[in-house]
């Protein structure tokens, strides 16, 4: 027998699915993302597929991957970004663990975070003066007689490495600190009453609980480090060992005026970042994800 079922009004069904008038509040953010991220991205993608001189649509990509001068920038950028990001994450953990128990936590955090507010250019200028051949560091080392001639610390790989480290670290550190403080201190106390010494507590309790957050932290810091530009130009050797991918894009756009090739390089950049982030996020599935407290939940 047929039964007439009263239809639930659309508004109620939408509300049950989580769409109601409050959802409209998300509209400005959606417009913002569409206008300032999605549209430029696809515009750039389209631009990269329309090479100069009416060449075949993938000509720019072919050019990029066949020209060592362009292609090698990937390796150079990775050689800079990966070690810097790794070092930032590795350094941030012990420092965050220490800072967590300090009474003047805020003061130390402020000092560590200051570089963010200074901006990469100021850091680079400062390092140029400090680490340069006539800088304080070299002059001090020569005066005490540790070295005879100045060390070459700027305008090469290590200059860019240090500059990048200093500008990325505060960001990495802040994220790590928030993850570390999220771990219930009672867990470590429980481990210690069960006979676990500090290293064992770190290895068996803290590290597994932090691993998830550190992976995300690595991704976010890596994306920043991968798009390094001012540091590589000012502190590195932009024509040699630190000719990073963003320099190649800049050169293509503003020296060769080939916007299409520049867009191609930007797309390649995005692709590599996406690959690495996706790789780490999928490896993350092997790690523990869940609450970081011992309370019922």
């Amino acid at each position: 027998m047929l039964m007439t079922v009263e239809r639930v009004p659309l508004r109620v069904r939408l509300a049950a699915a989580g769409v109601d008038s409050v959802t409209m509040l998300a509209l400005p953010a959606v417009l913002f993302v569409l206008a300032l991220f999605v549209y430029p991205f696809f515009y750039g993608l389209a631009l990269s597929l329309e090479p100069k001189d009416n060449a075949v649509w993938y000509a720019n990509y072919r050019a990029f991957f066949s020209d060592p001068f362009l292609f090698d920038t990937i390796g150079k950028t990775l050689r800079l970004a990966v070690p810097v990001t790794l070092l930032c994450v590795l350094l941030s953990v012990p420092i965050a663990l220490r800072v967590r128990h300090m009474r003047h936590q805020r003061l130390l955090t402020t000092i560590l975070v200051l570089p963010i507010t200074l901006g990469t250019v100021l850091i680079a200028e400062g390092l140029l003066n400090y680490l340069g051949p006539q800088g304080w560091l070299n002059r001090t080392l020569i005066t005490i007689g540790l070295i005879h001639g100045p060390l070459q610390l700027v305008h090469n790989y290590w200059g860019a490495f240090l500059g990048l480290l200093i500008s990325i670290f505060p960001f990495t550190f802040l994220l790590t600190l928030s993850y570390v403080t999220g771990v219930d201190p009672a867990l470590e106390q429980a481990a210690s009453t069960l006979g676990a010494r500090p290293w064992a507590r770190f290895r068996h309790i803290l590290l597994p609980l932090l691993a998830q957050g550190l992976a995300i932290n690595f991704c976010l810091s890596f994306v920043q480090a991968f798009s390094v530009f001012p540091t590589a130009v000012l502190l590195g050797s932009p024509a040699g060992s630190t000719r990073v991918i963003s320099i190649a894009a800049y050169t293509a756009a503003y020296e060769a005026y080939d916007y299409s090739l520049a867009s191609t390089i930007a797309m390649v950049m995005a692709g590599i970042q996406l690959l690495i982030v996706a790789g780490i996020l999928s490896a993350r599935r092997l790690l523990y994800r869940g609450p970081m407290g011992g309370a019922k939940g």
Binding site: A186, Q189, A190, S192, L194, G195, P208, Y288, G290, G294
Partner: protein, 370 residues
């Protein structure tokens, strides 16, 4: 399977071999605040001790000091003639059950329980064997592969207990372990803790603010207040004869009346209630004319034929078998009483109490040392 057999299994390779735990004038201060003031206590092996007191009385501080999680600022802790208060928690080997259980959220129940044994570097076969026995003891065999987040509060509690006792610690410390559970589960787990203590026999120090828990579990109760020990005694002693008025208040003597002593005879005395008198037992020397605090449980103050305290019922509530209520005397004293028959608001009663159950503490200061 006999309990005896289980007991031997759990106690194999026993490290509980000590005679006495001694706290010697243990003090702990946080800046100006003294959380513990010269607390001294002796605990014999196998005893179940409850530290009882209101929040902020220093009982949890005492437990953390015992566990080694808080350094002392004075005094010492001794296990027989070995001083242990300078040892790190990992070198004391005491089992601790935390208020929020502090289970490792990324390890299965089984892995949680085995953690201490693995830290001791025991061979895998021994770890597996002892973990299995401990899981059986707390009746969690079915849940052993689950993560703490997948367990109910009571089950998490059992894991926390198993994890603490599987290492066969000389001392098990429990910090309000039942306070996160609902009322029914709390009663169940209370029985469970008593059962496990009966089987394992480990020396236990149990912190609680719940007098019922302390009375039902402990061999001896240590009542604390303001960082000091107020009274140490068996549950029945504390229940019947609190040494001080504040301990009486904490043990359920809700009626605390400041009254004038009119006559004394040996350990008995008469106090003035305005239009009547009350007879009670003196718990300290007093002479007529002095003030005293009379402590009476609501249970012991009932309407009776020989009752002489006239009081009008302000409110009464039905609690299953009996009625409990508040009544006011003509002088305005408010009394908590029990009645077997229904009483109505506004009704006038003649209340009375057995003189043996009316405790008189000389003085007017609740915290006075009698």
């Amino acid at each position: 399977m006999s309990f005896q057999g289980k007991r031997q299994g759990i106690m194999a390779g026993m490290s509980q071999d000590f005679r006495k735990l001694r706290l010697d004038r243990v003090s702990r201060s946080f800046g100006q605040h003294n959380a513990l003031r010269e607390v001294s206590l002796e605990v014999a092996r196998g005893e179940f001790i409850a530290l009882l007191g209101p929040s902020g009385c220093g009982k949890s501080t005492a437990l953390n000091c015992l566990a080694g999680l808080l350094p002392l600022t004075g005094g010492g802790i001794w296990l027989d003639d070995r001083r242990i208060d300078l040892l790190k928690p990992e070198d004391r080997g005491f089992g601790m059950v935390f208020q929020n259980y502090a289970l490792f959220p990324h390890m299965s129940a089984e892995k949680n329980v085995g953690f201490g044994l693995r830290m001791q570097g025991r061979p895998k076969a021994e770890v597996d064997d002892r973990v299995a026995k401990a899981m059986a003891l707390v009746r969690l065999n079915e849940q052993k592969h689950k993560l703490p987040g997948q367990l109910s509060g009571g089950q998490q509690q059992r894991v926390a207990i198993a994890r603490a006792i599987v290492i066969e610690p000389p001392l098990v410390l429990m910090d309000e372990p039942l306070s996160n559970l609902d009322a029914k589960l709390r009663l169940e787990m209370r029985a469970e803790i008593r059962r496990i203590h009966g089987l394992v026999g480990s020396t236990t120090i149990y912190v609680t603010h719940d007098q019922d828990e302390a009375l039902s579990l402990a061999d001896r109760i240590v009542v604390m207040r303001d960082g000091q020990v107020r009274q140490v005694g068996r549950p029945d002693e504390l229940y019947a004869r609190p040494a001080h008025a504040d301990v009486a208040e904490f043990m359920g003597y809700r009626n605390l009346l400041r009254l004038k002593v009119t006559a004394t005879a040996n350990s008995m005395a008469e106090v003035d209630m305005g239009d009547s008198v009350l007879h009670g037992t003196l718990l300290g020397p007093a002479t007529p004319g002095e003030m005293a605090i009379a402590a009476i449980r609501p249970d012991d103050l009932t309407p009776r034929s020989n009752g002489r305290i006239r009081a009008r019922v302000i409110s009464a509530e039905y609690r299953g078998r009996d009625f409990y209520g508040i009544a006011a005397t003509p002088d305005g004293l408010e009394l908590y009483f029990r009645a077997e028959q229904k009483v109505a608001t506004g009704e006038e009663l003649l209340l009375g109490a057995d003189p043996a159950r009316v405790l008189l503490y000389p003085g007017t200061d609740l915290l006075a040392v009698a």
